[in-house]
Amino acid sequence: MSTGQLIDQTAGPRAATSSARRPAGSPRRPTSLRTRRARSFYVFTGPWVLGFLVLTVFPLGYALWLSFTNADGLSDNARFVGLDNYREVLSDPATLDSLWRTGVFTAITVPLTIAAGLLLAVLVNQPIRARGLFRTLLYLPAVVPPVGAALTFKLIFDRDSGAANGALDAAGINGITWLVDPYARYVLIALTVWAVGNGMIISLAGLQDIPRELSEAARVDGASPWQSFTRITLPLLSPVIFFQVITGIIGSLQTFMPLLIALNPTPAGVTAVPESNYFYMIHVFAQYFANGRYGYASALLWVLFAIICVVTFVIFKLSKGAVFYSVEPEPTKRKARTIGGGR
């Protein structure tokens, strides 16, 4: 940043205003106010920067260092092992399987959730009575804390006392042991899609930003509702959808909830997870807790981090041209709803 840019729209005129109002006897130089504002900026943003360095950058670096060692948390003499851990990541079938499973789950749930959220958003954007009530109630499942949601689905899909098998029984179909392979994956997909309200609200906000005149003009020109939706609404909504794709993928690759749908959700019980829900993050925690392999778990985390960076980058590149920014000049940004919360 050059010095010329420092005199910006906010600091510049204000400095002029206050020096103009200052009594003639006061000899303060005009730069002093700017310097003080700069100092204030560092005072105000410093705590976050410090927190970011200590609580994010340092742990990332720490994990990177650990990933080149055979640290196990027991003995202090962790030995440098070079790329051994990374070599193992590429050759460990459990790692590759869990990564593949996580990827497939992401490829299914992210588009499904976005499409369902968009459909609901279009519906609750119609001029119908009580649409505020519909919006609120459809959003409600997204408010349920993850553990509460997981336990609820565990009850619904319980083999003996669950509503799912009760309904099958009433229809004359034999009950299914849902929480084991291969059905556990469907329970997890249902649980994930249940929180569709988040996507609905974001898409709804996007829909409401689209000027009504556009679709009205299209109708006058003889466009069908479907044409108007695909040619006008969808392109204008593309930044909102793009945002959901990015945050959805990042969140989905970190999925951890299957642990709670498994039978023994204690760290020691991670291996009791049904195989179809044995996800990458579960593999990380299994290596970490059950096997005490801090070094290998750290390598796994760094690989996931790298994958997320690459995927995000590729989507950014691919979406150029497909994402259409007309109203807003920059992509919309919002915190993903991740398990880790707002850190």
Binding site: L6, T10, T17, S18, R37, S40, F41, Y42, V43, F44, T45, P47, W48, V49, V54, T56, F58, P59, Y62, A63, L66, V124, I128, F134, R135, L138, L140, P141, V143, V144, P145, G148, L151, T152, K154, L155, D160, S161, G162, A163, N165, G166, V196, L204, A205, G206, V240, I246, Q254, F256, L260, S298, F305, T332, R334, K335, T338, G340, G342, R343
Partner: protein, 274 residues
């Protein structure tokens, strides 16, 4: 479209989806009202023949439910208060002050919103263990004090839109930036503070991994205990107690949301996107 009007079709779809979406809540409550023997009834009882509130008593006493609820409340309140104030503090800096490097720092802030939270969890645990902060609430204090990028962004958006005159008048009166923030800007931002408090409170109330990693059995939160606490001596899950415990865990959050929903939904849908 010939038999039904378009509006009727919309109502029918929405009602069907709504019934499907809300039915898990119904099943949770029904399960919570069933006696242990009725839970095993075949064919299944869609409505408990002898509804009982005894599960709630047992759910409260099988382990120290209220004690764990207090842990959750303490951590969530501590984090929510600190992170709201810290985020307002940083948001003010990004909105109203200028300095070399501001653009770069703000860029980093925005990109950390994309940073996957789970990645740093294990090294963070090891770091806190070395500092002897495991099994204390200090990690939440530290996380709170540094603010959360998303909330900083919310406050920044709000403060950016406030009139310049407010600040100018205060500067003429000799106020420093800290006092301008504390006396003028912060009190004006109560809608954002409320949104920030509720969001951060529910993040922590709902968080499972961090307390499971950082706190021992006595100090952990309700979320963790709820997932593991209701088993009999053979390790089998006591479903009716799980349901009762989950109802008491989820209902306060839902109630808070329903009370605040008007501001909350508009806050979520608009402020983060504009």
């Amino acid at each position: 479209m010939s038999v039904f009007s378009r509006r009727t079709v919309v109502y029918m779809i929405l009602t069907a989806v709504l019934v499907l979406m809300l039915s898990p809540f119904g099943w949770l409550v029904i399960t919570a009202l069933k006696d242990a023997s009725e839970l095993r009834a075949l064919p299944i009882h869609w409505w408990p023949h002898e509804p009982t509130l005894g599960n709630f008593d047992q759910a409260l006493t099988l382990f120290d439910y209220l004690g764990y609820a207090r842990n959750s409340l303490t951590i969530s309140t501590l984090y929510a208060v600190l992170v709201t104030l810290a985020s307002a503090w940083a948001g003010y800096g990004f909105a109203r002050l200028e300095a070399p490097g501001k653009k770069a720092v703000f860029g980093v802030l925005l990109s950390t919103m994309m940073l996957p939270g789970v990645i740093t969890l294990i090294p963070t645990y090891l770091m806190f263990a070395k500092l002897h902060l495991v099994n204390t609430y200090m990690p939440w204090v530290l996380w709170g004090l540094s603010g959360a990028p998303y909330l900083i962004f919310l406050f920044r958006q709000f403060f950016t839109n406030m009139p310049k005159e407010l600040e100018e008048a205060a500067i003429v009166d000799g106020c420093g930036q800290v006092r301008i923030f504390w006396r003028i800007f912060l009190p004006q931002s109560w809608p954002v503070m409320a949104t920030s408090f509720i969001l951060s409170f529910s993040w922590t109330w709902g968080d499972y991994i961090a307390p499971a990693l950082l706190l021992d059995d006595a100090r952990t939160t309700l979320a963790v205990k709820l997932a593991t606490g209701y088993t009999n001596e053979h390790g089998a899950q006591l479903s009716n107690l799980v349901a009762a415990g989950a109802v008491m865990y989820v209902v306060p959050v839902l109630a808070l949301f329903l009370i605040m929903q008007r501001g909350f939904i508009s806050g979520i849908s608009t402020s983060g996107l504009k």
